[in-house]
């Protein structure tokens, strides 16, 4: 990110440029090389100038996809993804994608064009108050009123989006600001008096935490996405091994700790491993790292880790004590904090505790029903074998997301990318565009349900145009499955508006020039996945799975581990 900065942007310093050019120069200096977007009236001056710059611009088919792609890019690379939209409907189409990024702390810079300043407030054609609309779903936003502010605002936007707890920052640029001229001064220092994230945890607090951990008999670590964002996986591994502490992850923390490790408990929460949830219930010390105690993770808050002293490390002070009581709060970057903490941790052997947890582990059923229809678990385990557990998995939302989370066995940070906080159906396919472009050397697989796939399938066209090597799996159960599961379990199987049809996915893919397979037999799962993996370019594989399979175990919303629901044996 920084290496390019010195090479570019310098030569035009001190010259008179248009607002559009200053935006582009700022993007270059921020190390940006790809933008996702769609042009429109107010954005034309920006797109005009874009022709003179070396960016790759990915023309999506709906602005929501631009936001998800930028979000995927940001999650996968740790650098802010950038999306662009025109004023009015272009900007409002971004909203779901911005909210998705906001809730999952994904770094993103959003550029929207706006009607000229003299029209603002007059309900002009395609005028919409996008800074007002996105106020609660951005880390910060700007309506730039003068070309002289463009350079400073762009610099601030990237700084705010990418530092501390990352998040989306929107810059709204009126058309006349894009065409007016000003002197481009790239060295303008930042003056953000009110923005100074605390990156280093308080030493005394860290020492207290170390003492508490050293004295613990039944400690558990919970790793959230903050571990991945701060790049602390190595430190986490060292801490867990030195102190012999089992590690559970949140949904978005998957990959922070290798699931192949003896100390891995897998995912906690509503659809988490029983053993992980039980370990947390019995723990005497809980070390929560870079996580925010979402209710899908905690269940009934008052029953969460009832016996534990809680140490909570997070870069965002507002997360500490927000949902769950805390005994030792530490505000700081997880990596920095663990690097210090580790020096004060005494090596320990907690085999009794680890062995006790082991007895709670259930044998995964993996749904290996041969000669029957493929099961989602079977598809995911076969995919793990075919890709040797080394692919990046981008999921949609619903049952498919949980099956993907629980049956692949993730070992690397960022190998599982999913919409957690907002749970946005339609996220998977467009987000994967950004993931693949951000990590071109990785194998990127999309796992989607049939419902969510139909929410943004127009992006197949983008994928074809950009010739992206994306492997797309549709788990087709003919239902909005996760909602159907809730209706089955909590609403007496009254299936209201959850049965859903879809197109012939093979023909659909063909229309986009993408090869596709439909798999209806379990025995064909592995061989088809092999074929998909070997076929160059984008490929779609549809797996027709049992319509009413459920995700288990499940702790009903607002309930406790005692209320867990399991698969019926005779099913």
């Amino acid at each position: 990110m920084t290496s390019r900065v010195s090479e570019v942007g310098g030569e035009k310093a001190g010259t008179r440029l248009s607002g559009s050019q200053i935006v582009c120069e700022s993007l270059l200096r921020a190390g940006v090389d790809v933008l996702f977007g769609i042009p429109g009236g107010a954005a034309i001056p920006f797109y005009d100038v874009l022709l003179e710059y070396p960016f790759r611009h990915v023309l999506v088919r709906h602005e929501q996809a631009a936001a998800h792609a930028a979000d995927g890019f940001g999650r996968a690379t740790g650098r802010p993804g950038v999306c662009v939209a025109t004023s009015g409907p272009g900007a409002t189409n971004l909203v779901t994608g911005i909210a998705t990024a906001f809730l999952d702390s994904s770094p993103m810079v959003i550029i929207t064009a706006q009607v000229p300043t003299s029209y603002i407030g007059k309900d002009a054609f395609q005028e919409i108050d996008i800074t007002g609309i996105t106020l609660p779903i951005t880390k910060h936003n700007y309506l730039v009123e003068s070309v002289h502010e463009v350079g400073r605002v762009m610099k601030e936007a990237f700084h705010i989006a990418g530092t501390g707890r990352p998040g989306p920052v929107l810059v709204d640029l009126p058309k006349n600001v894009l065409t007016d001229h000003s002197i481009w001064d790239p060295v303008e220092p930042l003056k953000l008096l009110g923005y100074r994230p605390t990156l280093f945890g308080h030493r005394a607090q860290i020492r207290r935490a170390a003492q508490m951990i050293n004295g613990a008999r039944k400690p558990v670590i919970v790793a959230g996405r903050g571990v991945i964002i701060s790049g602390a996986s190595e430190q986490l591994l060292k801490l867990a091994e030195t102190a012999h502490i089992p590690v559970a992850t949140t949904l978005l923390g998957i990959g922070a700790f290798p699931e192949t490790h003896d100390l891995s408990l897998g995912m906690l929460g509503m659809h988490g491993e029983l053993s992980a949830n039980r370990a947390i219930s019995e723990a005497d010390v809980l070390l929560a790292l870079g996580m925010r105690y979402d209710d899908r993770a905690t269940g009934k808050v008052s029953a969460f880790a009832p016996n534990a002293q809680i140490i909570h490390v997070d870069v965002d002070p507002a997360e500490i004590g927000k949902n769950v009581r805390v005994n030792i709060p530490i505000v700081g970057d997880v990596k920095n904090t663990l690097s210090v903490l580790i020096n004060e941790i005494s090596p320990a052997d907690r085999s009794d505790w680890v062995a006790e947890i082991e007895t709670w582990k259930t044998i995964p059923r993996n749904g290996q029903i041969l000669n029957g229809s493929p099961t989602a678990e079977g598809v995911m385990t076969a995919l793990r074998d075919v890709t040797k557990g080394q692919a990046m998995i981008v999921t949609d939302v619903g049952q498919n997301q949980m099956w993907a989370a629980k049956n692949y066995c993730y070992t690397r940070p960022n190998s599982f990318i999913s919409s957690g906080g907002l749970g946005t159906m339609g996220f998977g396919l467009p987000a994967a565009i950004g993931v693949k472009i951000g990590c071109p050397d990785e194998d990127v697989w999309v796992i989607s349900g049939d419902g969510g796939f139909q929410m943004n399938l127009q992006e197949l066209s983008t994928i074809a145009q950009e010739k992206l090597e994306l492997k797309i799996i549709i788990l087709n159960n003919g239902y909005l499955g996760m909602v159907r599961q809730w209706q089955e379990l909590f609403y007496h199987s009254r299936y209201s508006q959850t049965k859903i049809t879809g197109p012939d996915y093979v023909k659909l893919a063909e229309a986009y020039g993408i090869p596709a397979y439909r798999v209806e037999k379990a025995e064909d799962v592995a061989s088809t996945l092999e074929k998909v993996a070997r076929t160059p370019g984008a490929v779609i594989a549809e797996f027709v799975i049992p319509p009413e399979a459920n995700v288990f175990p499940m702790i009903p919303p607002g309930a406790t581990i005692e209320d867990s629901l399991f698969e019926e044996e005779d099913e």
Binding site: G132, L143, L193
Partner: protein, 188 residues
């Protein structure tokens, strides 16, 4: 236990900052009892005094959320017992020849001022803690109140310590320079 909390926030005076603060309160489910905004001794910094009802942990969470706003420089909760808390009110009251002198006596007792007189009304200006303004308003009710305008609280800790000092964030030279740069860049 819920109680009244008085919070003082120093904010950078950028466009939309009041909207950000108010929107934050709405989003997090807080009812604002009173909110005042005004300039400080530093032109780029405004001072807000916000009175809200809530439990201590909830207000602590609110303070943290306020800090997340980029323009917010400093947030402190003011202990009312250790502070000067004032509010200003304008009260328009019916006042005939027969009642005017009685009203004037009340105004005197409250060390308030009559700032406008007509044949049948007066406008009273009063400053003080909320309770004083409340009690004056209720005393005047019998004469027939036409209008009341109250500013809401401003607050400052007593003693020499400054808990929300604007000049910590901008030196005078800073804002003079900033003003100078502004003029040059505007001349393009």
């Amino acid at each position: 236990m819920t109680r009244s909390h008085t919070i003082v926030a120093l904010v950078e005076d950028r466009k939309g900052v009041l909207n950000r603060v108010v929107s934050l309160f709405r989003r997090r489910g807080f009812n604002i009892e009173s909110l005042t905004v005004g300039r400080t001794d530093v032109p780029q910094i405004s001072r807000m005094t916000i009175v809200i009802h809530g439990t201590d942990p909830i207000v602590e969470q609110l303070v943290k959320q306020l800090y997340k706003l980029i323009e917010v420089l400093k947030v402190s909760e003011v202990n009312v017992e250790e502070s000067v808390v004032r509010e200003l009110a304008l009260i328009k009251v019916n006042a005939t020849a027969s009642t005017r002198s009685e009203i004037m006596q009340i105004v005197d007792i409250y060390r308030a001022n009559i700032v406008d007189v007509t044949r049948d009304s007066v406008v009273i200006e009063v400053t003080g803690p909320q309770a004083k303004v409340d009690s004056l308003v209720s005393l005047l009710r019998g004469f027939g109140i036409k209008e009341v305008a109250r500013t809401g609280h401003v607050a400052m800790i007593r003693g020499s310590m400054a808990t929300a000092r604007a000049s910590t964030y901008f030196q005078e030279s800073d804002w003079k320079n900033a003003a100078a740069t502004q003029t040059t860049s505007d001349s393009y």
